[in-house]
C-alpha cells in the first residue's frame, strides 16, 4: 500500500527539497512533542534509504541511514507515545508524540520492518467501535465519525434510487396530483358567470338567463366529484409507492445489517439499530406518502393560483400578492423559534423514555432495594420537564395560528379595498372579485402549509441519512473474488504469522499454530489475552491484518463465507434460543433436518429426556416469550444444534462457565460426544473442562506463551501452572 495520506502542505516543499530525485517517502509521521513534552512541529519521514527528521524552525534536518540492524519501536503510555530508533549499540534517538499520532508512528515502524524483511505492511485494521474496515494509517474510523452531511437534502435525493423501480406508478401518481389540483381550481372560476351574468343583472332588475345557473351548479358538482375521485386515486397511488419504497429500504437495510461484522453489533447499538430500521423507515414512508404529495400539491396550487390571478386581473393580482413576502418572512421566523422549542421538547421526551427504559428492565433491583418512591420521583422530575418544554411549544403554537389568521385577514382587507376601487372604476366585475377572494384565501392557506413542510423535510432527511449510514458501511469481511468451494473440510487448521489490530492497537502479535484434524485444543489465558479474537478470526468474523489462516492448506479468505461457516459449529457461553419450538431451535443450522435427525442430535446432547418432560416435547415453544429453560438445558439444546450440522471444526467458547457444577457434568458428557472426531478449539476459564484436550495453548498479550498437554505444562511451572494453582486454591477456598 502506498502512503495512504498526503503530506501536510507545510512540509511538502521542505521534504521535496531534501529528498533525492529517485527517493520516495514510504511513510511519515509527526512527533509533535519535544523532550520536555512541549508541543513542537516536526516531521519524520522514512525513505527506502534513510530516516529524516525535519524541524519547522530550522531549514536543516537530521538523517539516519537505514540498515538491516536498525529498528523502530513504538509504544504508548497514557496519552503520550514514544518512537525509539534502536541500533546495534543501543538507542540512537527517541521521539515523543501525543496519542493521536500513535497509529502513524506504528505505521512508520511497520514500514521500516517491512522494507527490511520484504513483508507487506499491515494494510488494514478494524475499527474497535463499529467493526468497519479502516485503513491502518487512519486514526478515526471513517464509518463511525459523525457524518457532516447528516440531515442534508442530499440523503433524501438518494431515495430516488429506490424510487426508480416504481417509476410508472410515480408518474401516474404525479399526473393524478396535477389533475386533483386543477379540479380544485375550477369552482371559484365557475362562480364568475354565476354572479356576473345571472345574479347581479337579476338583482339590478334586468333579465337574466337562469339556464346558466344549472350549468354552473352542474359544473361545480362535477368538479367536486371529480376532485374527490382524483384525490382518492392520487393519495392511494402515492401511498402505494411510498409503502414499497420504504419496505425496499427496510429490507435492504436489514439484509445489509446481517452481512456486517459482529463488532458492529457490539455494545448498546441494538436499540439504535431497531429504531433505524423500524422508526426511520416508517417516518420516511409517512413523509413520502403524506407530506411530499402535499408539498407538490401546494406548490402546484400556488403556481396555478398565481397564474389564474394574473390572468383575471394583473393589477389586482399584484396588489393581492404584495403582503405575501411579509407573511412568508414572519411565518418563517416564528417557525424557526418553534423548531428550537420542538427540539428541546423532544429531548425532554427522550429523557423521560430513558428513565422508563432504565427502570422497567431493572425492576427487580428497584424492588429489592425498596427504591420505588425514588424512581417515581425521578420519573416525575422528567415528566415535569416534558410539561415545561411542551408549554413553551404550546404558547408559540397557539400564538402562531391567530397571527397567521390576522395577517391573512389584513391581506384580504387590502384586496377588498383595492378591488372595491377597481370595481368602482369598472375595471373588474363583482364576479371576478369573488373569484379573486376565493383564490387568494386558498393561496394563503397553501403557503402556510408549505412553510410547515420545512421541518418535516428536515426530519425526513435526517431519517434518510441514518438509514444510508448503515447501507454505506462496507462489511469488513469481503467475499472472495475467485472463490474455492470448501466442500466438506478435513479440519486441519494452520495459523501462520497471524496479526490483528483493533484500530491502532495490535491485539494479536504474530501467532503460529498448527492443529491436526480431530485434535482438541484448549485455549487458556487471562481475559483480554486475545482468545476470543483468535476464535473470531478462525470463524472469519474478521480477517487477519497480516499472516494467514489456512484450513486444509487453503487460505480461508478464498472460501465463500457461508460455505466455510457451514463447516464450523459454535457453542457459546450464553446460548441463544430463538422464539420457536425446541425442534426448530435444534435444526436452526440445518432447516431441512428430519425429526429423526433432530431427536438423534438431542439424544447425543443429553437433551432428549428433559425435552420429553416439557409440556409439548419437541413442539414446546422456547425463547423469548416461550417456556423458560435453565442455563444448562439451553446449553444442551445449543449443543444439539451444533451436533446436527455435524461440523468439522467445533468451537466451544466458555461453553460450561455459566452453569453450576452438577449441570456442567451433564454438559461435559454432551460435549464429549460432540468433540469426537472433530477439530475442536475450546476456550475455558475452568481448566478442569479441558481435561480431554490434546494440547493446551496458553495465550497472553496476543502471543502464545506455552503449548503442551496438561501434565507437560504443569511440569513447566510457568503461566499455566500458575493459573492451575490459583484455581485449585479457589476451589479449596470454596470447600472451607
Amino acid at each position: 500500500m502506498e502512503s495512504s495520506s498526503v503530506l501536510p502542505k507545510i512540509w511538502q516543499n521542505l521534504v521535496d527539497a531534501r529528498l533525492d530525485s529517485d527517493e520516495k517517502a514510504l511513510a511519515w509521521f509527526e512527533p509533535d512533542l519535544d523532550a520536555h513534552l512541549h508541543y513542537q512541529q516536526a516531521l519524520l519521514v522514512l525513505t527506502p534509504r534513510r530516516l529524516i527528521l525535519f524541524q519547522s524552525k530550522s531549514a536543516d534536518c537530521q538523517s539516519w541511514s537505514v540498515g538491516p540492524d536498525i529498528h523502530l519501536t513504538a509504544s504508548e503510555r497514557g496519552s503520550v507515545g514514544t518512537l525509539e530508533l534502536l541500533g546495534p549499540a543501543g538507542r540512537i534517538s527517541v521521539w515523543r508524540f501525543t496519542i493521536g499520532h500513535a497509529s502513524a508512528a506504528r505505521m512508520l515502524a511497520d514500514r521500516l520492518d517491512a522494507a527490511q524483511t520484504g513483508r507487506t505492511a499491515h494494510a488494514t485494521s478494524i475499527c474497535p467501535s463499529c467493526g468497519a474496515l479502516m485503513p491502518a494509517a487512519a486514526i478515526k474510523c471513517p464509518a463511525c465519525s459523525p457524518n457532516a452531511e447528516a440531515g442534508s437534502l442530499a440523503s433524501l435525493l438518494r431515495l430516488v434510487g429506490f424510487a426508480r423501480p416504481h417509476l410508472k406508478m410515480i408518474l401516474v401518481s404525479g399526473a393524478l396530483t396535477i389533475a386533483t389540483t386543477a379540479a380544485a381550481l375550477v369552482p371559484p372560476y365557475l362562480t364568475i358567470p354565476l354572479l356576473d351574468q345571472v345574479l347581479i343583472p337579476y338583482q339590478a332588475g334586468k333579465a337574466a338567463d337562469f339556464n346558466i345557473v344549472y350549468w354552473c351548479l352542474g359544473g361545480l358538482l362535477l368538479s367536486a366529484i371529480l376532485g374527490w375521485l382524483l384525490g382518492w386515486a392520487s393519495s392511494y397511488a402515492s401511498a402505494w409507492v411510498s409503502e414499497r419504497i420504504s419496505a425496499d429500504l427496510r429490507q435492504r437495510t436489514y439484509s445489509h445489517l446481517q452481512r456486517l461484522s459482529l463488532e458492529f453489533f457490539g455494545g448498546k447499538r441494538t436499540g439504535d439499530l431497531l429504531s433505524r430500521i423500524s422508526t426511520d423507515t416508517d417516518r420516511l414512508c409517512n413523509f413520502l406518502s403524506g407530506y411530499l404529495i402535499d408539498f407538490v400539491k401546494d406548490v402546484l396550487m400556488i403556481v396555478m393560483t398565481a397564474a389564474i390571478l394574473f390572468y383575471l386581473d394583473p393589477m389586482l393580482a399584484l396588489a393581492a400578492l404584495l403582503p405575501f413576502p411579509i407573511i412568508v418572512w414572519l411565518v418563517h421566523w416564528i417557525r424557526g423559534r418553534m423548531f428550537r422549542h420542538y427540539t428541546r421538547s423532544s429531548v425532554a421526551w427522550a429523557d423521560m423514555i430513558s428513565v422508563l427504559a432504565d427502570t422497567i428492565p431493572g425492576i427487580r433491583v428497584v424492588k429489592a432495594f425498596a427504591q420505588e418512591q425514588r424512581e417515581i420521583d425521578r420519573f416525575n422530575l422528567t415528566n415535569q420537564r416534558v410539561i415545561a418544554s411542551n408549554d413553551r411549544v404550546n404558547r408559540m403554537w397557539s400564538f402562531l395560528g391567530p397571527v397567521i389568521t390576522l395577517l391573512t385577514t389584513i391581506g384580504l382587507l387590502v384586496i377588498w379595498a383595492f378591488a372595491a376601487y377597481r370595481v368602482h372604476q369598472h375595471s373588474i366585475t363583482v364576479g371576478i372579485l369573488t373569484a379573486f377572494i376565493a383564490y387568494i384565501a386558498s393561496f394563503y392557506a397553501r403557503s402556510e402549509s408549505l412553510l410547515g413542510m420545512f421541518s418535516n423535510v428536515q426530519r425526513a432527511a435526517a431519517s434518510a441519512a441514518r438509514i444510508f449510514e448503515i447501507l454505506d458501511r462496507v462489511p469488513s469481511v469481503p467475499e472472495p473474488t475467485d472463490p474455492v468451494a470448501p466442500g466438506r473440510l478435513q479440519g486441519a487448521i494452520e495459523l501462520a504469522g497471524v496479526r490483528f489490530k483493533y484500530g491502532p492497537r495490535e491485539v494479536i502479535h504474530g501467532i503460529d499454530l498448527e492443529i491436526r484434524p480431530g485434535e482438541m485444543i484448549g485455549l487458556v489465558g487471562p481475559s483480554g489475552a486475545g482468545k476470543s479474537t483468535l476464535i473470531n478470526l478462525m470463524c472469519r468474523f474478521f480477517d487477519v491484518a497480516q499472516g494467514a489462516i489456512r484450513v486444509d492448506g487453503i487460505d480461508i479468505r478464498t472460501f465463500p463465507i457461508e460455505a466455510y461457516r457451514k463447516n464450523i459449529g459454535i457453542v457459546l457461553q450464553e446460548p441463544f434460543l430463538f422464539y420457536g419450538t425446541v425442534a426448530e431451535n435444534i435444526s436452526y443450522g440445518k432447516p431441512g433436518a428430519t425429526r429423526q435427525e433432530i431427536v438423534a442430535a438431542a439424544r447425543a446432547a443429553r437433551a432428549h429426556e428433559f425435552i420429553l418432560k416439557l409440556a409439548d416435547g419437541y413442539d414446546s415453544l422456547v425463547g423469548e416469550r416461550g417456556q423458560s429453560l435453565s442455563g444448562g438445558e439451553r446449553q444442551r439444546i445449543s449443543i444439539a444444534r451444533a451436533l446436527l450440522i455435524d461440523p468439522r471444526i467445533l468451537i466451544l467458547d466458555e461453553a460450561t462457565s455459566s452453569v453450576d457444577t452438577e449441570t456442567e457434568r451433564d454438559i461435559q458428557a454432551a460435549l464429549d460426544v460432540l468433540i469426537k472426531g472433530r477439530t475442536t478449539i475450546a476456550i475455558a476459564h475452568r481448566l478442569s473442562t479441558l481435561r480431554r484436550a490434546d494440547r493446551i495453548v496458553v495465550i497472553d498479550n496476543g502471543r502464545i506463551v506455552e503449548t503442551g498437554t496438561h501434565h507437560e505444562l504443569l511440569r513447566l511451572r510457568g503461566k499455566y501452572a500458575q493459573l492451575h494453582r490459583a484455581q485449585i486454591e479457589m476451589v479449596q477456598g470454596h470447600a472451607v
Binding site: 420457536g580 419450538t581 425442534a583 426448530e584 425429526r595 429423526q596 435427525e597 431427536v599 438423534a600 442430535a601 439424544r603 447425543a604 432428549h608 429426556e609 428433559f610 425435552i611 420429553l612 418432560k613 409440556a615 409439548d616 416435547g617 419437541y618 413442539d619 415453544l621 416469550r625 451436533l643 455435524d646 460426544v673
Partner: protein, 162 residues
Amino acid sequence: MNTNGELQNPLLTLLHDELGRLIFVDESGQQHAEVEAIRAFPITDPDNGISIVTKEGKELAWVANLQTVAEPARGLLEGTLHQRQFMPIIRRVLRISRTVEPSEWEVETDRGPTRFPLKSDEDVRRLADHRALIFDAHGVRYLIPDLQNLDPGSQRLLERYL
C-alpha cells in the same frame, strides 16, 4: 450420527397393572412399573416418535412409528396417550368477551363447546404452517390446526391476536 437404534423396537412389550398403569418389559425380561408414554412431537407429528419413560423421566424405549407397533401394545399405548394428551382442537371461535385483558373466550372444540379465560394477548401464538396455539389462564392449550380453514367469523375474531 448415533441414532440409538437399540431403542427402536417395534416388538414392544407392554402390560398394565390392576390400576391401569403401564408396565414395560425390556428385552432382558425385566419389568418396569408405572412407565409413561410421551409424544415427542404432539403437535407437528403426533403419531411418530413416542417415548416410553420411567416415572423419573429416563427413557426406556423409543417408538419411531406407532403404526409399526403390534397389538396389544399398540392399543395400550394409544389408550394412555389419549389419556395423557389434552389439547382441544378449536373448530370455531364463537365469541371473545372484550378486547381488554383478561378476555373470556367461547369456542367450539373437537371435544365439545367450552369457554376459557385468556390472561394476555400474548398467549395466542402463531406457529409455522398457519397453526396457532392458545394458552388459557390455567395453562390448558388449545390448538388451531389451520387458521386458513377456519370460518370467516372466527378468523375475524382472531385477527387482532395474530
